[in-house]
Subunit: 341 residues, 2 copies
């Protein structure tokens, strides 16, 4: 269909899934990679019968534009993104690496601000940045700064969250309003004005994730709905687990400003990126208790029960709409919202 | 002195050292980062008296131009670079991550070739790529593809290599000819022609490193002399250990083509990057045995004893030249050889 990389290959939607599923996964091979979890979970024991804790390992590059936006900047995002992929995999995030690709001409003051912001974000999340790298590309071959963070953490014995383990009957919880990050970035980019400044939700979710797992050790899985938004997160869950998902439109928390901006920009908030939200899939009998625990956490005050896992239409996500209709929520097509993270 | 990023900040020489030492290290803080080793070595034990093996963790971005060059490509380089930083830290490399920043318009065939090459390089080095990321930037905001690999490995109990532990009397060994990688890349870029094609030395050094450590458990430290070449590697060693280094010019292995190309391009081979070489610092009584072991390894056939650690002129590297003179080998100044890895 195409022989070159398109912007949409970075959208977190259909094209990204195709590139990963058809080029990267078969190209690299391997079961751990092929499972497509937020973080890889790895055994370090040398087969001597000792079952130590397992290592979680994950990576993300950040190419967001502009570098500074309401509620955050590329540095905070780079720390939170990697902390959150470890956290939703059930790991305790411990150590980060950070590799910088700098464009010739970048003001050193911008770099200082970004580093200060990363340091604060690491402190807040309780992780330590232990190694890094610095490359420079000539003017016009980069865009200010790109940051790639990787992270390692420990997964307690006996814990196994996976996007492959949702079962019919499970309930789907979200930790707050959707779309704040993507709309905050788009708003500065497009010069949109609101009565209040809409801020990115970027935040470290390891505390909230721990609360959830302490409340319900049977939690099936968690995900951070970043690029591609809620739609990608639940579609990936539905495919991986071979189940259907039904979402209740009226239950999905949305800020009024986000709703308004989405209408203005012609965007669907289900496809807009979040950087401080997670979804949790839990057995039905634990849903209320988990919801209560989430709401009592500062980063989960607007948590809501937004849907169910069903046996019908495996691999497919259905939205039960405000007016009683049902529509399929497909993966994002095209290249909506490039360079949002 | 400057308020913006210069190409030289990526050279691996003086400007890189300044940026890391004055901006990144104080900005991020932390002892592990501040030690500036090739890989961070981390304890995972939770203070319960159990001393498990320690984790080594490292990262590098790759922005080499062109993407394909004699002897390798950006993908092989990205695998080897991270494997080698783990290996010279004394770790057994185990798992890699790989984050891609793709420029809109990149031919998918180029990406397929790169992925195939990375897979082969992983297999050769005995490591598994377990997690990744894919971002796309708009045309003119990247340069084909940038790859950031991170890696984790295990450091056996009791092993502690460090650039801080060289002592007067130690001998310095190098595993083969210098400058092959940098000159191979520069030659294609500048259209230089030689009678034989000069190839990059890019190679995984974990086998050779293991051989060295098995031969001499008292090895003080190893380094891979990448950007900034031998000069940066030994200068960093001299500063970190508070010792002097004396190098014997006639002992340094150089290919005739590299020597010729360096003369043509006005380069000093001591400053040119290597991607498949290591230096090892060993106590004098072990030097011959280690040299023998290195020479018996396929990747160390041209190994040589090139210098000594001395108590005099701490922090300074002196080259005893062919004609009997002595000159200071400083860190690379300026921006020679940009985007070599
Ligand atoms: N280039 C790649 N090579 C190998 N695996 C990849 C690559 N890109 C992504 N993956 C894998 O695909 C899965 C989804 O990746 P993706 O980056 O969409 O997840 P994420 O990091 O949770 O989301 P985001 O990047 O939006 O934060 C992960 O398991 C990841 O390891
Ligand atoms: N941006 C950065 N932030 C924090 N630490 C950094 C940064 N860049 C480099 N470092 C640290 O500085 C030291 C030297 O880094 P450098 O990248 O020169 O080493 P290397 O990876 O061995 O060389 P190369 O990148 O040429 O392969 C390492 O300990 C690394 O962790
Ligand atoms: Mg994720
Ligand atoms: Mg992520
Ligand atoms: Mg490096
Ligand atoms: Mg190194
Ligand atoms: Mg390196
Ligand atoms: Mg990702």
């Amino acid at each position: 269909r195409y022989e070159h990389i398109l912007l949409g290959h970075g959208s977190g939607g259909q094209l990204t899934a195709e590139l990963i599923g058809k080029l990267f996964v078969p190209g690299f091979g391997g079961d751990v990679l092929g499972a497509l979890e937020d973080a890889a979970t790895l055994s370090l024991s040398s087969g001597n019968g000792v079952h130590g804790p397992r290592l979680a390992f994950t990576t993300d590059s950040f190419v967001v534009r502009p570098l500074f936006f309401p509620g955050g900047d590329i540095g905070r995002l780079a720390v939170h993104g990697t902390v959150n992929d470890l956290a939703v995999a059930g790991a305790r995030p411990l150590f980060l690496s950070s590799a910088f690709i700098l464009e010739e001409g970048l003001p050193l003051d911008d770099l200082r601000r970004i580093v200060a912001s990363m340091r604060a974000a690491c402190a807040e999340a309780g992780v330590t940045l232990v190694t890094g790298d610095t490359k420079v590309v000539d003017r016009g071959k980069g865009d200010g700064v790109f940051i790639t963070t990787s992270g390692v953490g420990l997964v307690p014995e006996g814990r196994s969250l996976s996007i492959h383990s949702a079962r019919p009957g499970d309930r789907i919880l979200v930790s707050g309003t959707l779309g704040d990050h993507g709309i905050a970035v788009m708003s500065v980019r497009e010069g949109l004005e609101f009565e209040t400044v809409l801020e990115s939700d970027t935040a470290p979710l390891n505390g909230l994730a721990r609360t959830i797992l302490e409340t319900c050790s049977e939690t099936r899985c968690m995900r951070d709905p970043t690029r591609g938004g809620l739609s990608s997160a639940v579609n990936e869950l539905a495919s991986a687990s071979g189940v259907g998902v039904e979402l209740e439109e009226t239950a999905i928390p949305l800020r009024a400003e986000v709703r308004a901006a989405c209408e203005m920009l012609g965007l669907d908030p289900l496809y807009v990126a979040n950087e401080g939200k997670l979804i949790a899939v839990v057995p039905p009998e634990h849903a209320d208790r988990v919801l209560g625990a989430m709401r009592s956490h500062p980063l989960g005050r607007d948590s809501a029960l937004i849907g169910d896992v069903v046996a019908e239409h495996p691999g497919m996500v259905i939205l039960r709409s405000r007016v009683g209709g049902r529509r399929v929520v497909t993966l994002l097509a095209g290249e909506q919202l490039p360079r949002i993270c």
